[in-house]
């Protein structure tokens, strides 16, 4: 085709200018063909404290991780990579983050930030783009590299009970155990790991979960995109059991009441016995399960990509609701349970809804005038102690809302204080 176009233009017009025009036309055409889906990341926001003040650690702005103090005039306490705390601004934008040797081209944080250290001294995040695991000091004054995996990392980092050992699961089918006080700087330095990297069958996208068993001690339950679920002993990385589902698993694993819960691309939701890996029960959904399961109060809730939210009895798998709740739009964010007992559902298009967790009846959210954020929502929302929700959208904008209030307010960047005043007044 390229050659023939050249014939048409070149032979007919016999002029080199037409070749230039053809090449210039080909470049945007090819560029249009090669636009790649850059990773955006959907890290769940977490609540933390920095210098005695409550902050939200969230994926904000252009795929960065930031500590946001909503009550400060300048809400940004620190931003990683980029604006380190306490460092004066400079025209030199090429400065590396304090503690790091090079400038970081990090983007696409998918796993929720985890904390390590006896006093939650550092936040640990894994970057999809470079496959590097960073530890950022809580005050944002510096950061360090814990591991450069060299491959994309999508799963969140899991912290062991000692708050010192972390487990990093990668897209090249490996699980690394790292002592954060003596981290290996290279994946080839196998001696420096807590145990040699464990291999599983399939790329790992979902965040593994820690489970405590009587038979095997502490286990790391790892979902994979091949459909295999592997339970690794956290002491030595050896497999305790494996389970093979019907298709890939991209969601995180949730643990409750001796069971591991996850849903897969075979439209099936699974509950496994964490002692043996035996299937306790399974249930069919309407499409892929990609939301993380919420296991709470003896029930387990999950949404699928058809827009249905399902509720089962955690131990038996019996349906809790007469029929699944139909949100009408695909769901990727995990449902959230507020202190007042409402189950909040946020669809991919950013529509907020709430249902009664006992009956599945809708108690908030008008289908005629849906309440929604400006952008898509893929991250699990954060439920604050005051009952409000913090939502991180796919453009790095933070929103706040409250069940019952007919509004959702942008809080970062460009906080809408009037909206928030009305939001809190509605509560009154």
């Amino acid at each position: 085709m390229r050659r023939r176009l050249g014939h048409c233009l070149g032979d007919r017009l016999g002029d080199r200018r037409w070749l230039g025009i053809a090449l210039l036309a080909a470049i945007p055409l090819l560029a249009a063909c090669t636009i790649s889906n850059d990773p955006d990341g959907w890290a769940q926001p977490i609540a933390a404290e920095v210098e005695g003040r409550p902050v939200i650690i969230a994926r904000v702005e252009d795929k960065l991780i930031g500590a946001i103090d909503l009550d400060r005039a300048n809400a940004v306490v620190w931003m990683f990579p980029g604006a380190a705390a306490g460092r004066p601004e400079s025209d030199d934008d090429d400065r590396p983050f304090p503690g790091l040797d090079d400038q970081v081209d990090a983007q696409g944080f998918y796993g929720a930030p985890a904390t390590i250290g006896a006093n939650d001294d550092e936040f640990v995040v894994a970057d999809h783009n470079e496959g590097v695991v960073y530890a950022i000091r809580r005050d944002g004054s510096s950061a360090r590299v814990l591991l450069d995996t060299g491959v994309p990392v999508i799963a969140g980092v899991v912290v062991a009970d000692d708050a010192r050992t972390i487990f990093v699961a990668t897209t090249d089918e490996r699980v690394y155990a790292i002592d954060t006080e003596n981290p290996p700087l290279s994946v080839n330095d196998t001696e420096a790991f807590v145990w040699p990297p464990a291999e599983v069958e399939g790329r790992i996208w979902g965040t593994p979960a820690l489970a405590h068993t009587e038979t095997h001690g502490s286990l790391l339950i790892v979902p994979t995109m091949s459909g295999q679920v592997a339970a690794l002993r956290t002491g030595d990385g050896t497999p305790a059991w494996t389970f093979v589902s019907g298709a890939g698993i991209a969601s995180d694993v949730a643990i409750d009441g001796g069971l591991a819960f996850f849903g897969g691309f075979d439209r099936t939701f699974y509950a496994l016995d964490i002692e043996s890996g035996d299937l306790r029960w399974s249930a069919q959904g309407a499409h892929w399960f990609w939301t993380n399961a919420l296991a709470v109060n003896g029930a387990v809730y999950a949404g699928d990509l058809h827009g249905a939210v399902w509720a089962w009895d955690a131990q038996t798998g019996a349906a809790r609701w007469p029929e699944p709740f139909q949100a009408g739009e695909r769901i990727r964010a995990q449902p959230a349970l507020t202190a007042a007992g409402e189950l909040v559902i946020i669809t991919r298009e950013g529509t907020l809804l709430a249902v009664d967790p006992e009956t599945g009846a809708q108690i908030w959210g008008d289908p005629e005038t849906p309440l929604r954020t400006s952008n898509r929502v893929l991250a699990t929302p954060l439920v604050l102690d005051d009952g409000s929700l913090v939502i991180s959208d796919d453009q790095g904008v933070l929103w706040r809302s409250r069940v019952g209030a007919g509004r959702v307010c942008q809080v970062y960047p460009d906080r809408n204080l009037e909206c928030e005043r009305l939001l809190d007044a509605d509560r009154g």
Partner: protein, 326 residues
């Protein structure tokens, strides 16, 4: 527009590709190759139409150059050029129309492979809404991206080199099948295309998931085969294969140029866009295949004989028009 693009073009292609991957024992690489060949076969009638129009354009080249030399006034030159087109029944848009029709198909195929490879979670999430609600399809995603040691979701330098090489030979083949170029500027243009296009496409391949590179490589190889079978150039040798230079045009192309240069005119007929049919009295001297037959050369083939018979039949019914064309 979105409905046409997504629901009628991209989404059916995505589901067909996944189905093909399942049929190929979950080998996504083989599925891309098979799917690319399938798409090229589906668009083959358009390709043939384009090749024919291009050949007709080549055969008119000497007359066009003569007109350009003879008439300095642009308006008069344009008139003469249009007269020439009219005389031979050639439509200048004939080679661009099939190309324009194929562009959306190729771009859609690029997007299909990009979606299906699913390099990021967002891409896979996007793919989910494009899948038909059949367990056979939804449960087979994500596809295995490993193909003979290449991760189709990642970039591959060896594949980029292969794409550049295939593009290079595609360009070389086009040079070898063209009539002899007397114009220095045109020769320089051809030479630049010979080296620039492989570099351009090789570079693009290095910036995208290698699933797309595999598609580019396959489509180039198929295009080379199609052009080879259509033109049947007689100057392809081992030396040609290893040479970095564009070789002189084939004997057929030289014959075409010589015949046209003798003033006997280019291919004429009912419509060049429909195969550049020749008038009966001009066939032996102007059509390269027919000319070979008249000379008793070895290039005569069964296909050429069939083509000649077809032309004779048409010539009987279209003589008046052919005479006017001459």
């Amino acid at each position: 527009m979105s409905f046409i693009w997504n629901d009628l073009l991209v989404n059916p292609m995505i589901n067909a590709l996944i189905t093909m991957s399942n049929a190929m024992l979950d080998n996504f690489g083989l599925a891309i190759i098979a799917f690319t060949i399938f798409i090229r076969l589906v668009t083959f009638p358009l390709t043939i139409k384009q090749l024919r129009t291009t050949r007709a354009m080549q055969e008119m080249q000497p007359q066009m150059q003569e007109i350009q030399k003879k008439y300095k006034d642009p308006k008069r030159r344009q008139q003469e050029m249009m007269k020439l087109y009219r005389d031979v029944g050639f439509n200048p848009l004939g080679c661009l129309l099939p190309f324009a029709v194929q562009i959306p198909i190729w771009i859609a195929l690029f997007h299909v492979i990009r979606y299906t490879v699913g390099t990021t979670p967002e891409a896979l999430l996007d793919l989910s809404r494009r899948l038909y609600d059949w367990g056979y399809i939804t449960e087979s995603v994500p596809l295995s991206s490993n193909f003979i040691g290449i991760d189709l979701a990642e970039r591959s330098i060896p594949l980029a080199i292969l794409v550049a090489a295939a593009t290079f030979y595609q360009q070389k083949l086009s040079t070898a099948t063209r009539p002899q170029v007397k114009d220095d500027r045109q020769a320089a243009t051809n030479k630049m295309m010979l080296y620039m296009m492989p570099l351009l496409f090789g570079w693009f391949t290095m910036t995208v998931p290698s699933g797309l590179g595999l598609y580019w490589f396959t489509t180039s190889v198929v295009a080379i085969l199609q052009a080879y079978l259509y033109y049947k150039p007689d100057n392809i040798t081992w030396r040609w294969l290893v040479s970095m230079e564009a070789l002189p045009p084939s004997a057929k192309a030289r014959q075409r140029a010589a015949a046209a240069g003798d003033g006997r005119g280019p291919a004429t007929g009912k419509s060049a866009g429909k195969g550049a049919e020749l008038p009966p009295q001009a066939t032996a001297s102007q059509d390269p295949v027919a000319a070979g037959a008249a000379d008793g050369s070895s290039s005569q083939s069964a296909a050429a004989r069939r083509r000649r018979r077809r032309r004779r039949r048409r010539g009987r019914g279209g003589g008046a028009r052919s005479e006017r064309g001459d």
